[in-house]
């Protein structure tokens, strides 16, 4: 294991890996930003924070998810990882990212509705923000598992 960790990858793998890792880090950062902003609205509600959460998801998290996934497919192709029978650590990535997109889209829609509602002063967004916060917190925990799987590569 020591030797494999110390091994230098073929140069062809570096760019897709950079895209994958930078995308994943930005995704997690955007989810953290949205989660913290929306959690801050729980007590008294805040249009600006709901809007920040929505924008963090729409403008940063969704593009970052796409970059992460494109990078993952690209690097898997370079490494010639079989798509029909991938190693378990790659499988964990798929099991986390696909439902993660669903949670992300739902949270984006909820916060978008909330931001629109508060902007037009037609109601509160606190309930929507709370649901979105929980969904994003679940996402963050699953991405933690994915980071563990990607770095330790368990059999």
């Amino acid at each position: 294991m020591m030797e494999s960790l110390a091994a230098v990858r073929p140069d062809d793998w570096n760019l897709p890996l950079l895209l994958h890792v930078l995308g994943a880090m930005t995704l997690v950062g955007a989810l953290v930003l949205a989660t913290a902003s929306l959690a801050a609205t729980w007590r008294r509600g805040s249009h600006v924070l709901t809007r920040l959460g929505f924008r963090a998801l729409l403008w940063a998290a969704i593009p970052a998810w796409i970059a992460t996934r494109v990078g993952a497919e690209w690097v898997a192709d370079e490494e010639m990882i079989p798509s029909d029978d991938p190693p378990s650590w790659v499988d964990v990535g798929y099991q986390v990212s696909d439902p993660g997109l669903l949670l992300l889209v739902v949270a984006t829609i909820l916060t978008g509705i909330g931001a629109r509602r508060t902007a037009r002063d037609t109601g509160s967004a606190v309930g929507l923000d709370r649901v979105a916060t929980v969904l994003l917190a679940i996402s963050l925990v699953t991405y933690l598992v994915a980071v563990w799987a990607m770095t330790t590569k368990p059999d």
């Binding site: 110390a6 930078l22 997690v28 950062g29 930003l33 801050a40 924070l49 980071v147």
Partner: protein, 132 residues
Amino acid sequence: MTETLLFLHVLAAFFIVAGVVVYSAFVLGGPVNRLARTTGEVLWGVGGLGTLVLGIWLALDIDGYEIWDGWIIAAILLWVLATGAGSQVSRSVQPRDDDSAVALPTAVVAAHWARTLLVIALLVVMIYKPGA
């Protein structure tokens, strides 16, 4: 042991980038909320310390890596520069009770984007390992 160190090192790097993303929102005119700002600070601080300590530990632990390797020295230098730029930004961005945006001096905005580029460069060095 090495796998755990590597996981924690990469996790710390995720924290650093997350801290940069949070601060990017503030610099771009987003509301500076106390919870979000504290979260960004903790991520940046824990991530910064974690990457450095665990990175040096890994360099000592893994056969084939040495602390004086050029790419490791370059990474440490980038880390120092990014930390310096980050501390200037941290001092300048303070939360508002009404969650309003903060008008930041140009120098602080420049320091933030310099930090962002330095962190990306750090990631490039970590992945490409030039000279290894």
